[in-house]
Symmetry: C4
Subunit: 275 residues, 4 copies
């Protein structure tokens, strides 16, 4: 954690880097697999500790495990800082911040006494599962998914805006039609019902009781049934477009070495020479 | 609000027009952002006022806010009429009507005394959020979405007609099978249940109790599961078609007159001549 | 309803045929619209009659309406038989059978006394709404939809078979895990629950109570969430394929006059001459 | 079940092979249809036996049927082993294992006395329905579906990983927000709720009661509504890709070596020479 941002690594640091950051060698792969197992186990420990029956019986044991994993991940975090050329760059990257956030809560629960805060701490600790992302972050499929979702985000946002406005208006109408005695106690509550209905979740904790309310609910459901097609259409179109392009990437121009030609192209679209 | 439909704007009117209707200048952008915030806040005020606990405590404060926003939007509406060349065209446009409808209810609540009517007024006021539409109405993505949905509308209507007929028949059958003692008290009620089921909402306020009723419900659910594919297929096909056209139609080769060149192409992919 | 299957129409029969079967003339259009309104009203009458409160008050009035519409549709059915060249072909066609089934129940309710049977009759009467199909049967969009669904039917059947087998196995497992005390009283009941869950309907009349049952339910839900993609994919692919072909239909070969050439075709694929 | 893995079949074995394994002859088809009916009936018997009312009345009869079908399938299994050239290859194949698993449970229930174990046996017996797969395993459509799903599996797994992580984090947050008194008694329980919500199942056995909890639930629902588009997009793209390839890959022009000719093409659409 030295202040200089770029440093030369010694031999043992380089070896450690190979193990911790890379997964090309056998040791590196072993480290990654062990880390993943440790993360999963630590999440399971937190989950089990929240079950009243198990907490009563094995609370102490689970508490020990919690500390064991926290110390393990702390050592891992320190080693990561030691064996990298730019420790600060890692510390401020999203991966580094998640790594830190995954160990800090247990230490905070040590200093601040108070059960209600401890509970918050447990939930935050679950974020350490995001470290799994590191493993598939570079896989081709995930990049394909992320880029397709990212490209659809703007269109889906507009769609979501429309859905939210629709639920506000329908929710307010239902508040007027049904009223408090049927569970529609306020406009926010009615909007919550409208979202539960349009997304086809349908808990049934609130449901219309009057004839007019049921008619409006029926229309909202049919509407939700039809407009679910919109985000699906957006993402599918984006993916299909990306897929078609991926097919074209295989053709390379012999003159300018650029990729991305379509299947029916005869001449390079960048330099004009025959393909 | 003068009767002549087209008039020449004075200098100050032209400046006001720039601020209120356009968003090219800094002042215009600032006005739009402030207006949006005011609309959101006014909707939140109406929502909070409907929550019994908050209404009791802060009812008077929220009532003041309601009047503050109403007067603000009234001034805005008058300014819009003043600084436009065709005030009547604005007043009768869908945007103008929504602007008016968003301010009128508070004034009506002033003259007509009666809490139950006041409630209706509050819900109508929420329509002012539609003014947000003005901001994204011209964005490329929303136009893409709207045109794709508009093109699918006829096909989706036919599909919806089929779904409605199916729910009427299945609903009537369930009324005969289950009867009033299991919640299926009338055919409209049973149709409501059929819509709740086929759209996969499933409140659970009414659910089949007899063996035959459960068998029919099972078939309806599997049917709903399969036919949700139809609107999705319609919208996706429409979007994919639009996407393909959008990409290819813009560029034409000057040599061979062929279309379908990608956005990053420099040379015609068919004849090799520069685009 | 004469036995000869083909006959020559007299002048008044030909005119009646124009009105009843065709919608090219003003009278024909008027007839179709009136018929549609009458069908909708007759369905509404049946629906309202099933609501206990309305039945008590307006039962006699609704009964009269029922008979009015039945006699109206009987006259229409007889006129259809009279003014067509092949009355038997119409009578045995799916449209003719629906037309008959839509009027017969009221007459049966006249001869057979017994309220429970009367109820069945009411539901069958609703089938008369299928007559609406006649109006849009020839529209381009509905033919597009029907042909796409018909082509997907075989693939969707296989998918449905898989879903049914999955629900049988998961349902049986849940019967063993949860047992009768949690609502899973028998395997058919558990299969009903599995269908309610995999189709994401989720009434909540039966829901898992044990930890293992909840784990299995969670897996089933995630499974249902993923496999809903399959019918959607099938229908979308079918529609997209149909759409692409429709685009190609516009190009006609100058030599052999055949249609159906793709967008990138240079030579006619049927006769080999340049397009 | 002789140890030699490949043997020459005698004449009667060859004839039996034709009937049991092939469906080209009339006898073979008859055997397949009868087997299918027997499997369906045996599954129905198991199902009915689990219904308390029916078990009490017809328990003995159903028990006899159970044994009848078990002996029938045992004979079938032995015949399959006798008339095949590589009996061991069949016995260890997935089809052979399912065939064995479908008969073994009844025999185990014979030796091991104990009603609770008997119940497990019944559920396993249902697996015999998988034998139906043999019939459509070779149909073109099912191969299309399986290959498309198989190709999407990796992308869908990544998506599912993301959904699971999201439900863990949201579930933990809801545990902290709502607490045990509203049904969110532990983190696993809250994760179960999160899955029920994001998959839009929505039983309603657990639903948020606090304002913050409802807000978070609303966001989770809208999220689930949007991301259901992802698996659909993946599968649709995969299917569309497969469909396009299937159509185009079969025919190659002998003159210009180009692919992509339609099924009904007689001449190359690129160079005009006969295909």
């Amino acid at each position: 954690m030295l202040p200089e941002n770029k440093r030369t690594l010694k031999n043992w640091q380089y070896e450690l880097h190979e193990i911790i950051y890379e997964s090309g060698t056998f040791k590196g792969k072993l480290f990654d697999v062990c880390l993943l197992i440790a993360i999963c186990l630590s999440v399971v420990v937190v989950m089990l500790d929240s079950v009243p029956g198990i907490h009563q019986k094995y609370g102490n044991l689970l508490y020990s495990f919690e500390w064991f994993f926290t110390i393990l991940f702390t050592i891992e975090y320190i080693l990561r800082l030691i064996c990298i050329r730019k420790p600060m760059a890692y510390a401020v990257s999203s991966i580094g911040i998640i790594d830190l956030v995954a160990i800090v809560p247990t230490y905070i629960s040590f200093f601040v006494v108070g059960s209600q805060y401890l509970l918050v701490v447990r939930a935050l600790r679950l974020l350490r599962i995001f470290r799994i992302f590191k493993l598939w972050h570079f896989m081709d499929e995930s990049r394909f998914l992320i880029s397709a979702i990212y490209a659809s985000l703007r269109k889906i946002s507009i769609f979501m805006l429309f859905v939210i406005i629709l639920t506000i208006i329908i929710g307010s109408l239902m508040y007027l039609i049904e009223g408090g005695e049927n569970g529609f106690t306020s406009i926010p509550q009615s909007i919550y019902w409208a979202v539960v209905t349009i997304t086809t979740v349908g808990y049934g904790d609130i449901s219309p009781a009057t004839a007019v309310g049921k008619l409006l609910a029926t229309m909202l459901m049919l509407c939700g049934y039809a407009i679910i097609a919109v985000p699906t259409g957006i993402v599918t179109t984006e993916m299909a477009f990306r897929n078609r392009n991926k097919l074209g990437e295989k053709r390379v121009c012999g003159n300018c070495n650029k990729e991305g030609h379509e299947v029916d192209a005869k001449y390079c679209k960048f330099c004009g020479s025959e393909l």
